[in-house]
């Protein structure tokens, strides 16, 4: 009896966590279809070519995974911070500085290839962690809320990196065409993350998946996961339980920054081989990562899945250009999914039904 009830509760839990994203995705696809219909195109054909363009061929699938790599890391950074109750949105700035640091170290460090890669990854992690700690310090020391400090720091990081690659670190040989964005020097062949196999995605993706497993392990199996979650759920209880909130804040921010910084490094070392102006800002990797983490309700493994799907949405929508549909459809869909994921629709509906039932039962009695 008891067992049966437990089992049913688990099932209900699973249904609850799965239906919400499903409904959100359905609504957003419907509204996206309306938008496509309004400009006089066939939504079914558009969605078909999007799916084919994201997962249909090996090349496309690998493009999707490549794009997913920084998104996964940005998502993990959000998982880390938000689970502990720190609603920081600084992933973008940290990712930009990480990408820049990796490009710098990879280009200028006089060492054999693999040492350069390792040093570049370390530098990126350090840059992300430092920048993230800065917002933590502003919060802890000056009560500057995370929302504002991180949003501002994102813009500062982007302009600073833009300055670096436009002036002191600009690669004079590239950039022959005026239209192109400024960029730093190209990394030598040995200093980039190689593809897993010929025609496959680069090793950064594997590292990202490993990071997902590590974060999952941290959350589920260590006291750190428990403590950070307690701090987020109930700071007073955490304090009562003897958890040093200050230490947790910095630890969480550092780890979150490391994730975001590495995400930027993977993008530099794995796909661009250099820092290109606006490469993180215009693609919105960190924001998409945040959406992925939200869709997965801050679960690292769910974040991995959601990141790949959202990356597929973006990669697939570039196929829409062939049909004369602007690829921003993917941003519209992404926005609507997030909006409907935020609402506690299922839970509210369930609550209403329960209340109605209770009211009825009360009337009969």
């Amino acid at each position: 009896m008891n067992n049966e009830r437990n089992w049913r509760r688990t099932l209900l839990g699973v249904v609850d966590t799965v239906t919400q994203p499903l409904i959100a995705v359905l609504i957003s696809l419907l509204l996206g279809a309306v938008v496509i219909l309004i400009i006089g195109k066939n939504p079914l054909a558009a969605y078909g070519s999007m799916i084919r363009g994201a997962f249909g061929k090996q090349v496309y699938l690998m493009n999707t995974l490549k794009r997913a790599t920084p998104i996964i890391m940005g998502g993990l950074a959000v998982c880390m911070a938000w689970r502990s109750g720190y609603e920081a949105m600084g992933g973008e700035g940290q990712m930009i500085l990480g990408a820049m640091a990796a490009a710098l170290v990879g280009y200028y460090l006089p060492a054999p290839g693999w040492v350069r890669i390792l040093a570049a990854l370390l530098a990126a992690a350090a840059a992300g962690a430092l920048y993230s700690t800065l917002s933590g310090w502003l919060f802890e020391r000056f009560d500057v809320t995370f929302v504002i400090s991180t949003l501002m720091l994102n813009y500062i990081a982007n302009y600073f990196a833009s300055f670096l690659c436009n002036y002191p670190l600009r690669d004079p040989e590239a950039n022959v065409y005026q239209m192109q964005n400024a960029q730093t020097g190209e990394l030598p062949a040995g200093a980039t993350l190689p593809p897993i196999a010929k025609g496959w995605v680069h090793w950064g993706f594997v590292l990202a998946v490993i990071a997902v497993i590590i974060v999952w392990f941290l959350f589920k199996k260590t006291s750190f996961g428990y403590k950070s979650r307690m701090g987020g759920l109930n700071p007073r209880f955490a304090l009562y339980g003897g958890i040093n909130a200050r230490r947790m804040l910095y630890l969480v921010m550092i780890l979150s920054g490391v994730m975001a910084g590495l995400g930027g490094a993977f993008e530099t070392l794995g796909s661009k081989s250099r820092y290109v102006d606006q490469m993180i800002f215009s693609t919105g990797y960190a924001w998409t990562g945040m959406v992925a983490a939200l869709l997965a309700n801050m679960n690292p493994i769910g974040t991995l899945v959601a990141s790949i799907l959202l990356a597929g949405l973006a990669v697939g929508s570039s196929q829409l250009m062939l049909m004369d549909i602007p690829l921003e459809v993917c941003n519209i869909i992404e926005g609507i999914i997030t909006l409907f994921m935020s609402a506690r629709m299922i839970r509210i509906a369930a609550g209403n039904i329960r209340r109605r039932k209770q009211a009825k039962g009360g009337g009969e009695a």
Binding site: V35, I39, E87, M89, L138, R141, F142, D143, V144, T145, V147, I148, S149, L151, M152, L153, Y155, I156, Y159, F160, S162, F163, N166, Y167, G284, W287, M290, V291, L294, P326, E328, V329, C330, N331, I332, E334, G335, I336, I337, T338, L339, M341, S342, A343, R344, M345, I348
Partner: protein, 301 residues
């Protein structure tokens, strides 16, 4: 001297959009609806102001449309937060993502570009010259070619102060913000007040949007809002939601932006100059909070 007057003039023009958005943010924060969709709302209203003006060539209609669009966005935001219990941060970010995608989408569908649309035959908002001041040399530059909305922004700040602090409605709104359940027990319909107040104040973002796309010349650039929504959020945070304080705090940001612009062409690179307003925002908040903390400490001794 004229240079100084020009700097002041451009400061005023930088202030007004931020002030209008900050006033809306102030109302939202007073009724406990955390609105981070300001940025997306501003972008959408700027776009639709431009679009209406482009097709209908009617300045009044485009202002009205911008206000309506802004109110719609704020209505969606507050409904999702208040009624559907959405997490404010997520709702806001979702609307911002949507607004960025939607405006760029329409921009490329209608104008077949993703950069700037700048039709030369399209006039912006009517400039309004003050009767006496336009004959005084220095002041005429300071107050030169400002639009009605620029003046309206400051008038609205004062009006908001009167509404929030001198009327029954304002009292109720503030009571609701201080203690939701206590206000509810006094017979105030809390969700309705929250949604109504935020939606109505959203119209001010519509005015700000008009200033962005129609303020000087009529034009639209992708991401024209340029983080002003976030800056206004910070401005509001700095003045703790007080409408008159919003004038001062948005003046700070308007000034740093104008300063950064006026330093262009000097030895400092443009990208570094563009950091100034954001750094100033953080610094101002840090200083203010440190000051407030020290004051509280002194008082408790």
């Amino acid at each position: 001297m004229t240079y100084l007057a020009q700097v002041i003039n451009s400061t005023i023009r930088e202030i007004t959009p931020i002030l209008l958005v900050a006033l809306c943010a102030g109302v939202c924060s007073k009724v406990q609806v955390f609105n981070i969709a300001l940025e997306g709302t501003l972008l959408m209203s700027a776009f639709f102001a431009f679009l209406t003006h482009y097709f209908l060539r009617n300045i009044f209609l485009s202002v009205a449309v911008a206000m309506a669009v802004a109110m719609c966005m704020t209505l969606i935001m507050s409904t999702f937060i208040v009624k559907l219990k959405g997490q404010p941060m997520i709702v806001g970010m979702a609307l911002n993502t949507f607004a960025r995608g939607f405006t760029t989408f329409l921009l490329s569908v209608i104008f077949h570009t993703k950069g700037a649309v700048n039709p030369s035959d399209l006039k912006g908002l009517t400039k309004f010259d003050l009767p006496v001041i336009k004959d005084i040399p220095f002041l005429s530059t300071v107050f030169g070619s400002l639009t009605v909305i620029d003046y309206l922004a400051f008038a609205l700040a004062i009006a908001m102060f009167i509404i929030m602090y001198r009327t029954v409605i304002g009292f109720r709104l503030r009571a609701l913000g201080i203690n939701k359940s206590a206000a509810g027990s006094l017979g105030i319909n809390v969700p309705r007040y929250q949604i109504l107040a935020t939606t109505l104040s959203g119209s001010m973002i519509g005015l700000a949007g008009c200033l962005l796309s129609l303020g000087r010349n009529a034009m639209f650039i992708q991401d024209i809002s340029g983080a002003r929504g976030y800056v206004a959020l910070a401005a509001n945070n700095l003045c703790k939601g007080h409408p008159l304080g919003a004038m001062i705090s948005s003046a700070l940001f308007g000034f740093t932006t104008a300063l950064a612009r006026s330093l262009q062409g000097t030895a400092i690179r443009q990208q570094l100059l563009q950091c100034i307003p954001y750094i100033a925002t953080i610094a101002a908040m840090a200083f203010y909070n440190a000051y407030a903390r020290a004051k509280a400490k002194r008082r408790s001794l």
